[in-house]
Symmetry: C6
Subunit: 73 residues, 6 copies
């Protein structure tokens, strides 16, 4: 099964979690080695700017997911 | 209850505060440890560029929230 | 009264100033101490990249405000 | 007269120049001192990343201006 | 044949992969030398912030691709 | 003749090349000296983050161009 069968989600919260997943998947495609990603995670999860940068990527994907769901109106 | 039951807010100001919340929640998902987040906060809240970066994430989420509310017209 | 009663403005120039305000308000929410913000201001207002980053946040908010006003057509 | 009477322009090229102006005006609002801005300019105009960052701000404003003009179709 | 015959894809996952391709193609246009790109890749694929930056570009392109496909509704 | 007569292009690939051109033109407006730009190019074209930043600007412009062409549907 596809890791991304659809952009539709039942709730805004699930949509937000999909945005988080999309942000991580782009990293996974670029760096497929899970061990290296785990090492990098220990670095950036204790760096405020790194976390803000990651939050920005999520915000960009959340725009897409929210629109795909007509903002769950 | 969900931390994000809806993107609809009564006023633009509440919409702005929701954007702030969305920006922080992405950080919280990535760094779930509140103590670490508090430590990081003491760093970035005294760094101009860190604050500007955080403000950019809020701006991106505010685009989403404002559209979800048809700009509170 | 709310600091953000509406996204509607009479003119594009007022809309631009609202975008500047939105950018600053996100910083204010994150760093509520005015004295610290003043100190940070003296740093970033003399740093070209800091100013460009701030200008980017304004640009993002201006997209929202312009759309909310149907581009003042 | 307002420095921003309208987002409408006759041509895409004029629209691009308006986007450049919007990017610069946000800097001007934040750093009103022309002498300081001139000094900063001599720095960032010889730094590749600074120019790319500035180009990104222009791109964000150009999205707004292009939409305001219905893409000059 | 064009490397970009269409923005339409059959599935969201293929759309995401197209977004990845678009992000890489812009780099390829700017740095056409494959050997240099390979060297650079070994650097940024082990740097968390570099990966986050790359993920952000993908997110921006994914907005475009998703919209082009009406969010695969 | 204008360097930007229209945002319309025949194909997505031409649209992508127009996005590249728009990204470069903003740099050209800010740094009109071709010799300096050439020097800067030798630096950033061997820096992974610089290339990613440039790719992000292209992605932002490609959003505009793709929309102007109704995604070449």
């Amino acid at each position: 099964m596809s890791w991304l069968p659809s952009l539709q989600t039942k709730t805004p919260e699930e949509g937000f979690e999909l945005a988080l997943k999309l942000a991580r998947m782009a990293v996974k495609y670029t760096q497929p080695d899970a061990a290296i990603r785990d090492t990098l995670r220990t670095e950036y999860e204790r760096n405020a700017d790194s976390l803000t940068m990651a939050s920005h990527v999520v915000a960009t994907h959340f725009q897409t997911v929210a629109k795909a769901n007509d903002y769950w109106k």
